[in-house]
Symmetry: C3
Subunit: 175 residues, 3 copies
């Protein structure tokens, strides 16, 4: 986090890759007040338990949590502040929620693209890399993969640093 | 593209990773007349639109397009020329087509392996990394994954440069 | 393998990525007597042929093969010796077998975690990265992905070197 004023950080990784823990450490190292934006919806008990567990862990360390499954950009504009570090966990759950609500993906992504260069907070985005398996037979899964891939390219292009995390180890792709 | 005479370039990446755009930039940077070999078949309207869109974009920049779903090596031998850069997009679609036609995969890969060290054109291959998800339940998908993996190893071994692209960012694996 | 006394090596990669060949080369370069621990079960003819083929190849080079689908840690403790290199191929098949036998995953992983810092042999683990595709619809596959990811993080944390292999090319993540 040396060039902390240069722009957002994107942390990509697979399932259970340790990407969120790595991103949380980046935020904690910033020394700034820590805000956590959860995009996931508590669909079932498993998800609810997971969210509660994470919240309890972070709360102890002074994190403030915001839940926003859809209107991510509006929330980020509302809480944007140069004296804050904001962790968004994660972009792929946001994409899932937007698709379920049949939102205009291009418009949503454009709104985020417009915001990123103006953001004053220290922004860290976590997202799942999902495009390295076999082409899914399910059309919705293929569309999801395409949306996620496009979003990652856009956010990476506007980010100061990009990491790919595997087995808990970060590989710097940019910055 | 510093060591442009040393051999082919392989660009691997996931779905919507930006691998084709990166490969196109490598070709454009070569300063050579640009040839595009499309291995994809226009099965449906979506594919047809995608191919047409890409063709229109490249045509404006002076690309010459060749379509060859199966006899890739014969085509490459025909258009091979030291004063050309040839982009093959992509190897995984070629593998799909060969499997559908029940071609002898080992023989096809051997023919490509024999050609690569003799090639005089600047060759850039794009391919999808597909082996980093869960083992597919479908036997054909497992075979496809195995064929693609073996082909990637062979082409990488005979290439001067290999890149892995994620979120539009190239990671140099070789060269 | 410069810092060979510092701890285990983890080799991660996708299907047909060349990860096992790379790991075998690491072992052969060690100059130590070579032990191969196969965790895969010969479920069907295809698997049986594959195992036999690998065994024949390695036997000619002086490898000693052990088959252990479940009690990996007990076996490793039994054959542990500072004058040996031991290749475990692979962790993901071990996870599969543990899940099928409904073993206590946390206890099994804890036993491995406890052994790793005490191991005196040169240990090389091979494993499949499986978390970079679309979320599987199948619950068991999701659980498998979670277990594999957690295990990879733990082993990577306790390893001296970690490699990610794609297209036969190793990328050093740690060490």
């Amino acid at each position: 986090m040396s060039n902390s004023s240069a722009g957002p950080i994107l942390v990509l990784g697979g399932a259970r890759s340790g990407k969120s823990s790595f991103a949380e450490k980046l935020v904690e190292a910033s020394g700034l007040p820590m805000h956590y934006v959860a995009t996931g919806r508590a669909w079932d008990d498993e998800m609810r338990d997971r969210i509660r567990h994470h919240q309890d862990t972070r709360r102890g360390k002074g994190w403030i949590t915001h839940e926003e499954p859809l209107d991510l950009v509006a929330l980020l504009r509302r809480i944007d502040d140069p004296a804050r570090a904001i962790l968004v966990d994660c972009l792929t759950l946001w994409v899932t929620n937007l698709m379920m609500e049949e939102r205009d993906m291009a418009a949503e992504f454009a709104a985020l693209a417009a915001f990123l260069p103006e953001a004053r907070a220290r922004l860290i985005f976590v997202s799942n890399e999902v495009g390295l398996g076999i082409v899914p037979e399910n059309r919705m899964a293929r569309d999801f993969r395409d949306h996620a891939g496009r979003l990652h390219q856009m956010v990476a292009e506007k980010s100061a640093e990009v990491y790919f995390v595997a087995a808990g180890l970060p590989l710097k792709m940019k910055g």
